[in-house]
């Protein structure tokens, strides 16, 4: 097991320079999600217009994997329809199961492929994506 396989440069860049970190006042769907096993938490806000994610913002506390994953996710889904965003979430699940997945739309995500070799850390990487699924569900109901 090599540390470099897990902590790729792209991941550390998102951890150090998070994209879309913060909150927004505009009309949005807000989701709070915790990882009860470790205490990581995320608040995700989605602004959706005509079925398209116009903006995604997050705040939270967690490890480099969970926070970089949130940074990438919020970047990757901007401009996507809700179905496209869910499609990305599916692809991300496949990536975490060690399947070879390419993200033509947002290549940074592929840097998280190493997480699949660290089973204890998969739940860190998927926290933001679970918040996304919950947010889309809540948005569709509300």
């Amino acid at each position: 097991m090599q540390l470099d396989e897990l902590y790729r440069r792209v991941i550390m860049d998102h951890y150090k320079n998070p994209r879309n970190r913060g909150t927004m006042d505009e009309d949005s769907v807000t989701v709070n999600l915790n990882n009860p096993t470790c205490g990581d938490r995320i608040q995700l806000q989605l602004r959706v217009e005509d079925g398209v994610v116009k903006q995604a913002k997050y705040t939270g506390e967690g490890c480099s994997i969970s926070m970089s994953s949130a940074s990438m996710m919020t970047d990757a889904i901007r401009g996507k329809t809700l179905d496209e965003a869910l499609g990305l979430a599916e692809k991300f699940s496949a990536l975490m199961q060690g399947q070879p997945v390419e993200f033509e739309e947002y290549e940074d995500l592929e840097a998280l492929s190493g997480v699949s070799k660290f089973p204890a850390r998969i739940k860190c990487a998927t926290l933001a994506w679970n918040a996304l699924r919950k947010g889309i569900e809540a948005g569709r109901q509300g």
């Binding site: 540390l3 902590y7 951890y15 096993t37 660290f118």
Partner: protein
């Protein structure tokens, strides 16, 4: 005692993890098992296994003798007045739940007070929250000093004539502090309250004498003290246990049953509905033999010395914050590395073969009090050495350098 010699009796410790000899420092979560405990469980299943208390055949007698013999051994280990004060449970959590569901719900009235400390494990917190909600009782907390210690004057000031239960952890699984439970018990009794002690982290590390502590209930788990998982103990003073209703109904715990009503066995058996954890009790008895042979006082001294050594060694590393006091600590150190999340620390340490815990340690309210979301924790046992602490320190320095470069 010689930790290096003792280590040889633990088959699991003789392995490489990620290319390094394993250094196991997650003992507060679960300890490893010596050969004698593993053998006792195997021997039980290969020679004596049957159900207890019911059969007239030879194996049933042997299984019953083994199970009740384990109870007598636990009673002696805790210096209980009688083996009838020893209830076998699934672990500390179940033991505390029995007190909170059976004794507490019958005894508590609206406005009565349950007194805890801010450092309780969720297992000694949530059962009381639920008991309070069910009865209208209220929870009150003894203030904690910034270094994680409890002052008796604060205990005294928190207790009132409405205090019915005081439940305190003997040793904090996060701070490593040893709480003065004997003195707290005396103060609780002055107010007419019962004293419950969460012994999950003390039973493995120190001589516990329940009559000297004069606690009313004491709970611990087998798996943190060289025994198997799935077995734990609730000690309760006999007059209290005899007043309590069972919390689980079924076979084994009854005296007389007809179609519309039933009566219960005496304590402790009324709390052991269903086929009990027989092999677990056998394993726990073997663990007690193992620990007693080494001597609990020796283990206590080793635990304290190693915790202090680790505290001092980690203090030397720039960027490490330690939680809890230097003095009066046993068995563990809890810490954080500046700018690196404890999960990331634990992952780097694991690649170096060093197993530690990262997270909230089932103490979410305490984490908020310490103003952290999570911490790293290294916890020691009788087979750990100063050399293990050096491996921990070296791995921590590596983690610091790695993340220093990665996010620097």
């Amino acid at each position: 005692m010689n930790p290096l010699e003792l280590r040889k009796q633990f088959p699991i410790l003789d392995q490489q993890v990620n290319g390094h000899p394993l250094v196991y420092l997650d003992n507060a979560a679960s300890s490893q098992k010596p050969r004698s405990v593993i053998d006792a469980i195997v021997r039980y299943y290969e020679h004596d296994n049957a159900n207890v208390h019911r059969g007239v055949h030879t194996l049933a007698s042997r299984a019953t003798d083994a199970y009740e013999g384990a109870r007598a051994k636990v009673a002696k280990f805790l210096n209980a007045a009688s083996e009838r004060e020893i209830v076998f449970t699934r672990g500390t959590t179940t033991a505390l739940n029995i007190v909170a569901r059976s004794w507490a719900r019958a005894a508590l009235r609206e406005g009565d007070e349950i007194v805890l400390t801010p450092m309780e494990h969720h297992a000694n917190l949530i059962p009381w929250q639920q008991a309070a909600k069910a009865t209208g009782a209220v929870l009150r907390y003894i203030p904690m000093q910034p270094d994680g210690t409890i002052r008796l004057s604060d205990v005294e000031a928190t207790l009132t004539d409405r205090t019915k239960i005081v439940s305190v952890t003997h040793v904090s699984n996060v701070l490593g502090v040893v709480n003065p439970v004997k003195e707290i018990a005396a103060l609780a009794h002055k107010r007419g309250a019962v004293m419950v002690v969460d012994g999950a982290q003390s039973a493995p590390h120190m001589k516990v004498d329940v009559r000297d502590l004069d606690c009313d209930f004491y709970a611990f788990s087998g798996h943190k003290m060289c025994g198997p998982t799935g077995i734990g103990v609730l000690y309760g003073k006999r007059e209290l246990l005899e007043q309590m209703e069972p919390v689980e109904y079924g076979g084994e715990m009854i005296e007389h049953v007809d179609y519309y009503d039933a009566t219960w066995k005496e304590a402790p058996w009324r709390f052991e509905g269903g086929t009990p954890i027989i092999a677990g009790a056998v394993g726990l008895a073997a663990a007690i033999d193992f620990l007693t042979e080494i001597g609990m006082d020796n283990i206590d001294r080793h635990s304290e010395a190693l915790a202090r050594y680790a505290y001092d060694r980690l203090s030397e590393i720039e960027g490490v914050t330690l939680y809890g006091p230097r003095e009066g600590r046993v068995c563990l150190v809890t810490f954080n590395l500046d700018d690196v999340h404890p999960h990331d620390v634990a992952t780097v340490l694991d690649t170096e073969g060093v197993a530690i815990r990262a997270g909230h340690h089932c103490c979410q309210p305490l984490m908020r009090k310490l103003e952290v979301t999570a911490t790293a924790r290294a916890s020691f046992y009788l087979y750990n050495t100063e050399e293990d602490v050096e491996r921990l320190a070296a791995a921590l320095i590596k983690a610091k350098e790695f993340f220093g470069h990665a996010i620097g």
